[in-house]
C-alpha cells in the first residue's frame, strides 16, 4: 500500500514528502540539491524495489528473494545506526555499491547489482550517500537475516566470482560519442543495470558481457525463467522490438510503459513503475540514443533476432474482416481479442499493443503469451500516462485447448513467426500460476444476485441424467 501510494505520486511530490520528513529527523544536514539528486539516482537504480518489503517502509529492507538455495532477504538501507547503514562512511558505502563489500568486509550476495554499480562516478556515489544519510528517515526495522545453507552461506566464496566476473571500472566517457550517448551508456551500464535481465548469462550466472566493449552479447536479450527479456540492441533493419523502434518510441516506453507499438508486460512493468517513469525525458532520450548505437548481432540476439518484417499480412486481416471460413483460433480471436487488437492486429497506438510483430507472439517460448491470455495485464500508472490500462484475463473463459488454438493463431497471424502452442503448454502455465484473483472480465453474477449464483452452483453440480428438451 505504501509502495502503491508512492508509486502513484509524481516524482516531485515524492521527493518533497521524503525530504520534508527527513529534515525533521536530521535537522537540516546535507544540502537540498544533493539530496534531491541522490533521490533521483536512487530512482534510476530502482533501490526501493528490492530494499522494501511488501507493505513495509521504503528502504527498510526485508523483501524475501527466493532462490534455490534459500531465501535472501534484502537489507535495511535507511540511516538507522543499528538496523540500517547509518554507521557507513562514504567509502564503505561506495565499496558496497561498487564491489559488493559490506562495512564489515563480508561479501554481499550478487543479488545486489554491484557489478553494474561499479560504473558509478564518485560524484553520483556521493549524492546517493548524502541522500541515504540525510534524505531518508532512519527506520529501526530489523529485516530477517539471510540464512542460506552450506555452502551458499559462505560469503567468502563470492570473492572468486567477483574476481572472475565483476571487474568493471568507473565509467569514463568516450570522446568519440556525443554527450547524450555517453550519458545514456552511463545510465544503462550503471544504475539502470539493464544487463541484469537483458544480457544472457553464462555458466556461473554471470552476465556474459557487462558492457558493449565486453562483447555483443551485451543486452542481446535473455530468457528469464520462461519470460523473454528482449534484446535491447537497437541498431538494425527489419527487426522486431527495440531495433524497430525510433528513439522516441524507446523513451516513451520507459516513461509510460507504452508506445506506438507495444505495451509493457511481465517483469518490466515494475521497473517502469518504480524507476524509469520517474526519470527525466532527457535521461530517457539519452538511454534510447545509446541503445540505438548498439548493432544487432544475428548470432547472439534473442527476441529481436527474427527478420520478421512488420509488413501487413493482409490475408489474416481479410480473413478476420470477412469473418467466414475461420479457423478455431481465428474465431476465438474475434470472440476475445478483436475488440481491442482489431483485425489488422495493430491495436491502437499507445493504447492497445500491436500483435503483428509482437515480441511475445514471436518469442520461441510461448509462456509469456499464454500468461497474458490467461491472466491479462495491466500497465503501470505513470506520471506522464496515469491510466493503468488493463487487459482482462481469459483463463476463466477459455479451455487449455482454446488458449492453445488462440495463441497459435496470434503467433502465426499477420506474418508473425511464432510456433504452435499445445494445450499441455497451456496447462503447465495454468498450473504454475498463483491462485489469487487476477484481471478477470468474469461477469460476477453473485455481485448482483447471490441466489442466482447459488442456483448456478447447484444446477452445475446436478448430474445430466437426461435431457428431454433436445
Amino acid at each position: 500500500m505504501i509502495n502503491q501510494l508512492m508509486y502513484a505520486g509524481g516524482l516531485a511530490l515524492m521527493l518533497t514528502a521524503t525530504v520534508v520528513q527527513a529534515d525533521e529527523q536530521t535537522k537540516g544536514h546535507g544540502d537540498q540539491d544533493t539530496i534531491e539528486r541522490g533521490a533521483y539516482l536512487s530512482r534510476a537504480g530502482d533501490c526501493v524495489a528490492c530494499h522494501t518489503a511488501p507493505g513495509g517502509d521504503d528502504f527498510a529492507g526485508g523483501l524475501g528473494i527466493e532462490s534455490p538455495f534459500g531465501t535472501i532477504y534484502s537489507t535495511n538501507i535507511t540511516p538507522d545506526k543499528q538496523a540500517g547503514i547509518g554507521n557507513y562512511s562514504e567509502a564503505e558505502f561506495a565499496a558496497a555499491l561498487r564491489q559488493g563489500k559490506r562495512a564489515d568486509g563480508a561479501n554481499l550476495y550478487p543479488a545486489m547489482p554491484y557489478p553494474s554499480y561499479a560504473r558509478l562516478t564518485d560524484d553520483d556515489i556521493h549524492a546517493l550517500y548524502v541522500y541515504f544519510m540525510h534524505g531518508v528517515a532512519p527506520n529501526d526495522h530489523q529485516p530477517q537475516t539471510t540464512d542460506l545453507s552450506f555452502p551458499f552461506n559462505q560469503r567468502w566464496g563470492i570473492s572468486g566470482w567477483n574476481w572472475l566476473f565483476a571487474d568493471q571500472k568507473p565509467f569514463e566517457p568516450d570522446d568519440q560519442d556525443s554527450e547524450k550517448i555517453n550519458r545514456g551508456r552511463y545510465l544503462v551500464e550503471g544504475l539502470g543495470h539493464c544487463g541484469s535481465c537483458h544480457t544472457p548469462r553464462g555458466l556461473f550466472q554471470q552476465e556474459k558481457a557487462l558492457n558493449d566493449d565486453d562483447g555483443d552479447e551485451y543486452l542481446a536479450g535473455a530468457n528469464l525463467n520462461d519470460w523473454l527479456a528482449p534484446g535491447l540492441r537497437g541498431k538494425g533493419e527489419d527487426h522486431l522490438g527495440v531495433a524497430g523502434w525510433r528513439e522516441q518510441d524507446i523513451a516513451d516506453y520507459l516513461a509510460t510503459g507504452r508506445n506506438a507499438h507495444s505495451a509493457v508486460s511481465g517483469e518490466m512493468t515494475s521497473v517502469i513503475k518504480n524507476s524509469t517513469s520517474h526519470m527525466t525525458r532527457d535521461d530517457l532520450s539519452a538511454i534510447a540514443a545509446y541503445l540505438k548505437t548498439l548493432p544487432v548481432s544475428d548470432e547472439t540476439a534473442i527476441g529481436s533476432e527474427r527478420h520478421v518484417s512488420a509488413r501487413k499480412d493482409s490475408e489474416t486481416e481479410q480473413q478476420l474482416t470477412r469473418a467466414d471460413d475461420l479457423s478455431e483460433g481465428g474465431r476465438l480471436y474475434l470472440d476475445n481479442c478483436n475488440a481491442c487488437h482489431f483485425a489488422d492486429g495493430r491495436g491502437a497506438s499507445g493504447v492497445f499493443p500491436a500483435l503483428a510483430g509482437n515480441s511475445q507472439a514471436n518469442a520461441d517460448n510461448p509462456t509469456a503469451l499464454i500468461h497474458t491470455i490467461l491472466a491479462g495485464a495491466q500497465l503501470p500508472s505513470t506520471p506522464e500516462r496515469p491510466e493503468a490500462l488493463m487487459m482482462p484475463g481469459f483463463g476463466w473463459r477459455l479451455s487449455d485447448q482454446e488458449v492453445a488454438d488462440l495463441a497459435t493463431f496470434v503467433r502465426q497471424g499477420w506474418g508473425n513467426q511464432g510456433g504452435t502452442v499445445s494445450s499441455e503448454a497451456v496447462r503447465k502455465v495454468r498450473d504454475s500460476m498463483d491462485k489469487r484473483e487476477g484481471f478477470s472480465g468474469n461477469p460476477d453474477t453473485a455481485a448482483s444476485d447471490t441466489s442466482a449464483a447459488q442456483a448456478d452452483a447447484e444446477t452445475a453440480s446436478q448430474p445430466n441424467v437426461k435431457d428431454n428438451e433436445q
Binding site: 475488440a339 493504447v351 490500462l389 482482462p392 472480465g441 460476477d444
Partner: protein, 590 residues
C-alpha cells in the same frame, strides 16, 4: 451524534464528470480536496470485457443506476394530482457510483449554440411582444458562448471528441454542422466511420436540401491521449453503450479521461458509499461550513470544508439545497423563491422504419455514432410561423444493440406467440430509426419541491417533480414529425411506425423519455430569478458552488454533457483566479 473529520479546503459532493473535473482544477490550485460519492466504487476493472456486455444486468435491471430504494423522486403532472414515486426507473436513468452518469451516458457531446445560451434575449429580439405564452419563464444563462468556448474546446480534448466541425472561427466547413457556434479548433478526432443508417440518412436529408453532419461523439474514432495524459482507444461499435460502462476504453468517462490522473494527486482523496444529507450553513449566514454525510457503516459524519462543490445529478443537487434550506424554495403560486424553479426536461420523438431490402446488423452500434441535421434549431427558421419557440435536431443512429430491447416488430404484430417469433426473427436487422431531440421551455407551474409524504431511508423527504408537456413544445415536436415524414418519404421503407407526442398529451412517466433533466438550481444574473450567479456560485452562500445541468434555465435541443462540463471549467476558472484569493461573492447582488 456525528463524528467530525479534519477540515479540508474543499469537499466535492458526487464524483461524476463535474466532481472529477473540479477535483483536477482545485488540486491544481493547491487545494486539499475530498470527494464524497453516494454510490459504489467503480473502476476500469468493473468494465473489463466481457462484463459490460450483459444486457439483462445493465440494459434491463439498470445496475449502473441509482437505486430507487436509496433515493427516487415523486411525480405528478399538475398541482391537483397526488405525486407518486418512481418505484423503479422508467422515465429516466440517473447514474450512480464513481463516474456517475458519465460512466453510462451515450457519448453524444455537444455545445450549446450562442442563441440557446441567451434564449430570452433571442426571443425578445425575434418575436412579436406577447408571442411567448404568459406562463413561460425562459431566461438567459448569464454566460455567453464566447465565454464558454475555450472551456468547450478543452473538454472536447479531454473527451477526444470525434466528428466534423461545421464552423471554425466563422468559416463554414462542408460536412459539419453549419448552424453551430464558431469553434477555435477542429474536432480532436475525425468522425466515426459511417454505418448504413448514417449513409441512408445523409443521402435522404441532402436530397431534401438539409445539412447532415456526423454526431459529435465521445466514443472516439481513434487512439487518443488527452491533456491529462489519459487514453482512449478506438470505438469498435460493440453495441453496449448507453446504460453500460465502456468495455473498450472508447467512451469518454471520468474513468477513462480523468480519474487515474486525479488519483495521482497527493491532495485528493475520495470516499464511496458516503451519502451527503445536508450542506451545513455557517452562523454568519453568508457561507456554508461543511457537509453532513452517512458513511457506508451508517455513521453520521461532519466534514468541515472551506469550499463546498455540489456536483451530483441535477435532481439530487436541487433536493440537497432544499433539504439544507439554502436559498428560498420556489413557490409557483406566489411566484417567489428560486430553488426548484425552471425545471425542464427534453422533448423526444421517433419513427421506426422497416426495410426488407436492407441488412443493418443493428448489433453494430455505438452510442455516439449517427448522423444529424440541425436545420430546425430554435434560430435557423421562422418558428413563430409554426406557433412555437424552440427546435430539435433530427438524427439516426444504428441499433439498438442488445437483444431484449432490440426486438422490433412491424405494426399489428401480436406481442407473443408464433406470429411474434416469426416477426421478431424476420425483422431483426431490417429496422432503422429516426429520432428527434428537442428543446423544452421552462414554465411557471413546472418545478421541483420536497414531497410532503414520501421519504428516503434516512427519513428525509423525496424530491417532487411537477411536470407536464405544454402546447408550445408539442407544436414544436409535431413540426419535427412532419419533417421526419419527409425523410421517410425519401427513404421509402416497407412500413414505419411513429411515436410522437401530441398537443394535449400529458407527461408519461411510465415510458423512457430522456435522462436530460435540467434546471431547478439555475444560473443567472438576478438573485430573484436564479439560485446561482453566472459563475455557478450560490447567491446566498459564496463558498458553495453548484455544478451540473440543474443550472440550465431551460433545456436546449442538444445533449447537456458538453455544456455541463464547459460550465464546470468556467466556474473553476473563476474560483481559481478570483475566488480563492479573495473569497466572497463573485457578482454583486445587484
Amino acid at each position: 451524534m456525528s463524528t467530525t473529520r479534519p477540515e479540508v479546503d474543499a469537499v466535492i459532493i458526487g464524483l461524476g464528470w463535474t466532481g472529477s473535473i473540479m477535483g483536477m482544477e482545485l488540486t491544481d490550485a493547491g487545494l486539499n480536496v475530498v470527494a464524497l460519492e453516494r454510490g459504489n466504487e467503480r473502476t476500469k476493472e468493473d468494465f473489463l470485457y466481457p462484463k459490460p456486455a450483459d444486457e439483462l444486468k445493465y440494459g434491463v435491471r439498470l445496475k449502473m443506476m441509482q437505486r430507487p430504494k436509496q433515493s427516487t423522486v415523486t411525480i405528478r403532472r399538475n398541482a391537483s394530482e397526488t405525486a407518486v414515486p418512481q418505484r423503479h426507473w422508467t422515465t429516466f436513468h440517473p447514474g450512480d457510483g464513481v463516474g456517475g452518469a458519465g460512466s453510462h451516458w451515450t457519448g453524444v457531446l455537444y455545445r450549446a449554440t450562442p442563441n440557446e445560451l441567451a434564449l430570452k434575449s433571442f426571443a425578445d429580439r425575434t418575436f412579436e411582444p406577447g408571442f411567448l405564452p404568459e406562463d413561460m419563464t425562459i431566461q438567459d444563462y448569464g454566460v455567453t458562448y464566447e465565454e464558454l468556448e475555450p472551456h468547450y474546446d478543452f473538454f472536447e480534448k479531454v473527451a477526444g471528441l470525434s466528428g466534423q466541425a461545421g464552423n471554425i472561427q466563422g468559416e463554414t466547413i462542408e460536412g459539419g454542422n453549419p448552424f453551430e457556434g464558431p469553434r477555435q479548433n477542429p474536432f480532436p478526432l475525425s468522425p466515426l466511420p459511417r454505418t448504413l443508417t448514417d449513409t441512408l440518412f445523409t443521402e435522404a436529408t441532402k436530397k431534401l436540401g438539409w445539412h447532415p453532419y456526423p454526431y459529435p461523439s465521445a466514443n472516439v474514432s481513434g487512439a487518443w491521449t488527452n491533456p491529462y495524459g489519459m487514453q482512449l482507444g478506438p470505438c469498435n461499435f460493440c453495441g453496449f453503450c448507453s446504460n453500460y460502462g465502456c468495455l473498450n476504453y472508447s467512451k469518454a468517462s471520468p474513468q477513462t479521461c480523468i480519474l487515474d490522473a486525479l488519483k495521482q494527486r497527493e491532495h485528493f482523496s475520495y470516499r464511496t458509499n458516503c451519502e451527503v444529507t445536508r450542506i451545513v450553513k455557517s452562523d454568519d449566514g453568508e457561507t456554508v461550513k461543511g457537509v453532513l454525510y452517512h458513511d457506508g457503516e451508517g455513521q453520521e459524519i461532519f466534514q468541515p470544508a472551506k469550499l463546498v462543490i455540489l456536483a451530483s445529478f441535477p435532481l439530487s443537487n436541487v433536493r440537497l439545497l432544499l433539504l439544507s434550506q439554502i436559498g428560498q424554495p420556489y413557490d409557483p403560486v406566489a411566484n417567489t423563491g428560486v430553488v426548484g424553479r425552471n425545471f425542464s426536461y427534453q422533448i423526444t420523438g421517433s419513427i421506426d422504419m422497416y426495410f426488407k431490402r436492407h441488412q443493418f446488423n443493428p448489433f453494430i452500434s455505438a452510442g455516439g455514432s449517427g448522423q444529424v441535421i440541425d436545420d430546425f434549431s430554435p434560430d435557423t427558421f421562422d418558428t413563430a410561423k409554426h406557433g412555437f419557440i424552440g427546435g430539435s435536431y433530427i438524427y439516426t443512429t444504428q441499433g439498438p444493440g442488445g437483444a431484449i430491447g432490440a426486438v422490433k416488430v412491424p405494426p399489428g404484430t401480436p406481442s407473443w406467440g408464433s406470429e411474434w417469433k416469426k416477426n421478431a426473427s424476420e425483422h431483426y436487422g431490417h429496422h432503422m430509426m429516426l429520432g428527434t431531440t428537442g428543446t423544452n421551455m421552462s414554465y411557471r407551474d413546472v418545478y421541483l419541491d420536497l414531497d410532503p409524504t414520501y421519504t428516503d431511508p434516512h427519513g428525509d423527504p423525496l424530491l417532487r417533480m411537477t411536470y407536464d408537456w405544454k402546447d408550445n413544445d408539442m407544436r414544436m415536436t409535431q413540426f419535427m414529425a412532419e419533417r421526419m415524414r419527409e425523410i421517410v418519404a425519401e427513404l421509402e421503407p416497407d412500413y414505419h411506425t411513429e411515436n410522437f407526442k401530441q398537443v394535449g398529451d400529458h407527461f408519461d412517466a411510465a415510458k423512457y423519455q430522456s435522462t436530460h433533466l435540467t434546471g431547478g438550481a439555475i444560473m443567472g444574473t438576478d438573485p430573484s430569478t436564479s439560485v446561482l450567479n453566472r459563475y455557478l456560485q450560490h447567491w446566498d452562500a459564496h463558498n458553495l458552488f453548484v455544478m451540473g445541468a440543474s443550472a440550465f434555465p431551460q433545456n436546449m435541443q442538444h445533449n447537456p454533457t458538453g455544456t455541463v462540463a464547459a460550465l464546470t471549467y468556467w466556474s473553476a476558472k473563476h474560483i481559481r483566479e478570483r475566488y480563492l484569493g479573495n473569497p466572497g461573492p463573485l457578482m454583486s447582488q445587484g
